[in-house]
Amino acid sequence: MNEPIAVSPKSFKSAVKPIWCPGCGHFSVLNAITKAMAALAIDKDNSVLVSGIGCSSRLPAYVDAYGFHGVHGRGLAVAQGLKVARPELTVIALGGDGDGFSIGGNHFLHACRRNVNLVYIAMDNEVYGMTKGQASPTTPMDWDHSKLTPHGPGVRPFKPAAIALAAGAPWIARAYSGNPNQMAKLIAEAIEFEGFSFIHVLSQCITFCPEQTDWKAIVHERSEPPLDSADLAARLFLADDGFATGLLYREPRATWPPPLHIHKNKNKNENEALAALAAAFAAQ
């Protein structure tokens, strides 16, 4: 992480007022993002926040950068297309647990594999906030607060870090909305990491899951250096309680598209190339 430069995080907030419930964890994520952008003195004009649909996914409009608020579950695909087309941009994709792990699960899997150089922040409140509190993939099996699943979803919760690892994500961290400073540091590191960096944020939904205020007592910072081998990390992610925060795993590997490809593209003579393609069609 670069030396912090004197840019105020506030200057990274847009004029649009967030319309989250007071006490929503997503406010901290917004703060952490603007803090990280300020710390890196990021060029606003060259940064894009991309999201899907959900309370969490409303975040891009609140940041003074370019933003794309897409459809439910597809933010990661938009972000990857954007980054590949415009490799010089800083691209941050974000969304909720419903957006990213339920409807967006397939893109999550394949983004981890593909390893395009961007940041993905999943704001996990174990619930569909926006649609009034149904169970998400990370909801505890016996959470019976939704009329849609009155006895609880009855399904083993989704383990975002374990899935990301199995799918091939090279950089995996966990943060907590109660600790925005740690989160900001992790976001800044993620931006600087060359590859797909995944931050799983425990971000409470005060309205539909007030019980999540108990997270404060459970969350624990992992002090060991990040694991750098997938099979070891797998044990951690499958056996632990899911509340360890910090940078958990880091094992850089080839990004997509191959950097050579990006470089080669810069020097093409488009007209010559088009003429050659046309010539190949000549019948005689």
């Binding site: 597809r74 695909a77 938009v78 297309g81 954007l82 088009l274 000549a282 005689q284």
Partner: protein, 565 residues
Amino acid sequence: MGDTQLSIAITGAGGAGVISCGELLLKAWARCGGRGLLRKAFGPQIRGGEAAALLKFTDHERYTAAGRYDIIVALDWVNFDRFQDEIIAGPDTVVICEDSERIPASLRGLPVIHHAFAQLASSSHPEGRMNMVAAGLLGHLLRLPMSALLEQALAKLANKPEAYRDGARACIASGYAASKDIDRPLPARDASGAWCLTGNQAAGFGALSAGVRFAAAYPITPASDALEWLAGGLEAVGGHLMQAEDELAAINMTIGAAFGGVPAFTATSGPGLALMSESLGLAVASETPLTLLNVMRGGPSTGIPTKSEQADLDIALHGLHGDAPHLVLAALDIPDCASATAWAVQLAQALQVPAIVLSDQFLGQSTAVVAPPRLPAALAAAEPTPSTTDEYLRYRLTASGVSTLAHPGDADARYTADGLEHNERGTPSARASDHREQLDKRRRKLESFDYGPDWGRCVGKGDTALVSFGSASAALDEAAARLAEQGAPVRTVALRLLSPLPVSGLELALAGCSRVVVVEQNHSAQLYHYLKGRLDLPLESLAIPGPVPLNPHTIAEAVGARQDA
């Protein structure tokens, strides 16, 4: 301009290489100045099923498939049988086959030439293949020099082991030698400067020429080869093709690249278009330009993936939820796959909207020898209405409906694009006035644009008109030629722009007609109902589903018959 044609059908098992044989013949023919078309027909599945190379050699450009075949070559009868409805013999058809004992009923009584493909192949070379024997045989019938055949065969096998090339050489030679002459006039071979390509390749080329530098791809028959061609094409010009995990990702990657300011493209077929429809709506609402090529196949559902039909018009026009105006175009013939796609890219960029280009399996996968496609001149950049405020308003209400589109990297124009309804600034809004204004704006930019004369192709005069879109248009033109010969000239109107519908152009083109017959290759008369819903004209419907190509003769008869009735 004469009108000599020779049509040849070659059928075999999926792996027997009849398509390669057809390609070899067409390319060698083209190389010697000939014109022609190769239609590819497959069974319901790509592998293990049946295949047919359906060749038409002509002395001028003709984009319809042959209705009857002068020569039918059957490597075996089981696979020929599966094309019963598609490969029709005429009274003078010559049948060439290995097994002259089991000729199917539909071909009985026709002259038969027995040809021992299998035996010749294996005796010529250990790597010998029947399809190369057939190529030699037919090459001789077409009076092509053996060198032209060998040139194509060796080019195709350039990266294969030497033995394969030796095998091809030997088989072509033995087929050539064994060929018996049949007495058929051959079309003149006097073309020069022609191109030889498929509609899918043409579409890729059109996209690239109009500036596309990003494509996202999920394979699907019969669109994959457009994407495959583009993978190489984009690399050559310095762009990127991303293979996506599914169509949902493909369309959203396309949107992402387009939002970044890079003209972006994807291609698919019916099932994929259905999956993309939600996010096409996002492109409409966020005003993100992109071009989507939809290569139609038989439907509904998985349907008949390898065969042609024009049944995705409804979903292309009306498949988005909410009021979501967008562009729909159709390529009229193989070279027009390039022109229409290039135009679509230009329009999409100029109007900040998704454009769907309809093609179909026939156009997309047939190979034709044609004059180089005409590419549209660059559109005059729309003059942006000057802003009255300093502030950048992404969705500013302008007279044209088009607002200035900033891209990441542009200084001081930061905004968040949104699929939620929004105000001019882009801030989400549920207010009725904002909604109404943005709905009006999004419709206005499409409806007030001047598309010029390229909206369609209008030919001929007459009291009766035939109207169609896409690949049906070629059949229309041939039907019109027949009707003219019979002294009943008709007008034909082929639509390249389907949405927004060029109502005034159409009304002008059809003015004074007492009959307007809407011809299309589907079951539910999709174009007919669409036009009837928007025009006050005396429309009739002639809708014939696939997978057999529309037959000009049938159309001429239907129109003529009704004229009499």
